[in-house]
Amino acid sequence: MDRTAEDSAEEWLSPMVDVSGLSLDDLAAREDDSALTRSLRRLAAERDEPGEPIAGFNSAL
């Protein structure tokens, strides 16, 4: 699993690529990009280890 920057870093770097401005065809054309591959691998790991649902806040007093 990719990790973020070390403590005291000026920036925290995510392993996830910003593809928000791209289309699906753009993504398909870049599927050999290593950063994209890392992002997809991270997403697959998330799927294998789904978190618990966060539910139950009781807002009534």
Partner: protein, 524 residues
């Protein structure tokens, strides 16, 4: 391709629950990006791609995630989206919130709670009324939080209320910007519920970018749940309640007089039981009322203000404690450590702010009771250790050291539930009056509410040698003068019940056992 990044300052502000508009926008783009990557994975597998693609819609993201999971499982993809047509809009003080009230999407149950049936027009109108009123409160007194909501919240999914609780809400990591929530009792509850859930959404988006907690840590006591929680769950609770605490802090400051210089002269407040807090104007001049043994009663300072003060005092300590648990766990990444330190620092900055002494006592009591209840409910003492302790008791020997109790078998998800806490809420809501909350209803509760720990302890202890009553044992743990009772109530209960069962009736009682354990075991 460029990866997402946050400056350390922006990351710290996000962790403190005060993300900038740019940070919220980055998280939205990150979620859209994630959505697009999931769609590309579906396309590779030959699955269905919706048209048009709306990568920013939380329910569309939920469908995409469910479709990909189905493809991987070899199952049929979920039914297509059916979006509701109820668009709610609230505008106040130049800020607008636009959300879709989602009562038709076939996957809306996947936010974690049972969804309501399709709404009637009058019900939609009621949601709009509540949202408009809640929005006035948020934009007027909680502007920064309102701006985050306006930027991030897109969908509200109405869900069924739980008969045993006042209000429920939920979020899903697969639907950034969607909140499931039961019909709020009032705009105030709606506002705080939305803030709470949006914090979960922000944290979900953050953890999709940065690992904060390493997997495999222990399940621990969370101040917000009666069942053991993973560290990631504790982090979610703490982060969500950071925003709730800030909200209560502001509400308390608005409704309760700020400077308390020394003892306040208080007078009896003959408040009738049926008085509705809804009729109390928020800006009413502050007047504290109290004389006699009752301690500070709620007065025209605003009953809701007393409750807000209680919630503020309770949750600032709980968030700081949870952050401490996380930092001590050794399970945080570098980013997680930075994040949780910023959370802790934010909450710690509130710890020294003055709170009415009685409210502070009740808030500390509520947190102590929660810890005791959690231990009594979830920890199991080794039977061999109990037998050893009972044997020592019968011999009149000192208590031998025994290992800490371990987690009992998983009993499932459990929201906090305490009759005593309900009494405290009622007291703070309704104030002191004849027949007030607790009066004569349960032994010990009046004394507890009044701060008479000795009387409360005596009352809670009666007959407890033969009872595992969770409510009384946890109450005793709060008021007991014995360290063992406060810190290891599950051990005191196990030994007391076992000794009584073994025929050691004489002199066996929880307080006697607690004193015995405190005298030797706790000092070991």
């Amino acid at each position: 391709m460029r990866t997402f990044r946050l400056t350390d300052a922006a990351f710290g502000d996000l962790a403190a629950g005060r993300p900038s508009a740019d940070t919220v926008d980055l998280l939205r783009r990150a979620q859209a990006s994630r959505h697009l990557l999931l769609l590309s994975a579906i396309r590779k597998l030959g699955g269905p791609i919706p048209e048009p693609i709306d990568v920013y819609d939380p329910m569309a993201a939920l469908h995409t995630s469910a479709t990909l999971a189905a493809l991987h499982a070899g199952a049929a993809p979920p039914p297509p989206r059916v979006s509701a047509a109820h668009e709610l809009t609230a505008t106040h003080d130049g800020l607008t919130l636009r959300v879709r009230l989602e009562d038709t999407d076939p996957l809306r149950a996947r936010l974690g709670l049972a969804p309501s049936r399709q709404l009637l027009p009058a019900e939609v109108a009621e949601w709009q009324r509540l949202l408009s009123a809640g929005w006035v409160l948020l934009t007027t007194r909680h502007r920064a939080a309102a701006e985050v909501l306006a930027a991030g919240l897109r969908v509200i999914v109405p869900v069924e209320a739980d008969p045993g609780s006042g209000g429920l809400s939920a979020t899903s990591a697969e639907a950034f910007g969607a909140v499931a929530i039961s019909t709020p009792g009032d705009p105030h509850s709606f506002a705080v519920g939305l803030l709470h859930e949006c914090q979960h959404s922000l944290l979900n988006a953050t953890t999709s970018l940065f690992d904060l907690v390493t997997p495999g840590g222990p399940r621990v006591c969370s101040p917000w749940r009666d069942d053991p929680r993973p560290l990631s769950g504790l982090l979610h609770g703490a982060y969500a309640y950071l925003s709730v605490t800030r909200f209560r802090r502001t509400e308390a400051a608005t409704r309760v007089p700020a400077p308390r210089r020394g003892p306040v002269a208080l007078t009896p407040h003959p408040l009738p039981a049926e008085t509705s807090v809804a009729h109390l104007p928020a800006a009413e001049p502050p007047v504290l009322t109290e004389t006699g043994p009752r301690g500070p009663a709620a007065g025209s300072a605003g009953l809701r203000g007393r409750l807000a003060e209680f919630e503020f005092a309770r949750w600032r300590a709980a968030v700081a404690e949870a952050a401490g648990t996380l930092l001590d766990s050794g399970q945080l990444t570098a980013a997680g450590t930075r994040f949780v330190r910023a959370m802790r620092d934010e909450a710690a900055g509130w710890l020294s702010e003055p709170v009415d002494p009685r409210v502070a006592r009740l808030a500390a009591g509520a947190n102590a009771e929660h810890r005791a209840r959690w231990r009594l409910r979830n920890l199991e003492v080794d039977p061999a250790a109990v037998a050893e302790l009972v044997a020592a008791w019968r011999r009149g020997a000192a208590a031998p050291a025994v290992p800490e109790a371990g987690l009992a078998a998983d009993r499932g998800r459990q929201l906090e539930s305490s009759e005593r806490l309900r009494l405290v809420h009622r007291l703070l809501n309704e104030g002191d009056h004849r027949g007030r909350a607790g009066s004569g209803l349960r032994p010990g509760d009046d004394a507890y509410l009044d701060g008479d720990a000795g009387t409360a302890a005596t009352s809670y202890s009666k007959g407890l040698a033969f009872s595992s009553d969770l409510d009384r044992w946890s109450g005793l743990a709060v008021v007991s003068s014995h360290a063992a009772m406060r810190d290891r109530p599950e051990l005191v209960r196990a030994v007391t019940l076992a000794a009584a069962e073994a025929g050691e009736v004489r002199n066996v009682g929880p307080e006697a056992v607690a004193a015995w354990l405190s005298g030797s075991l706790m000092s070991a």
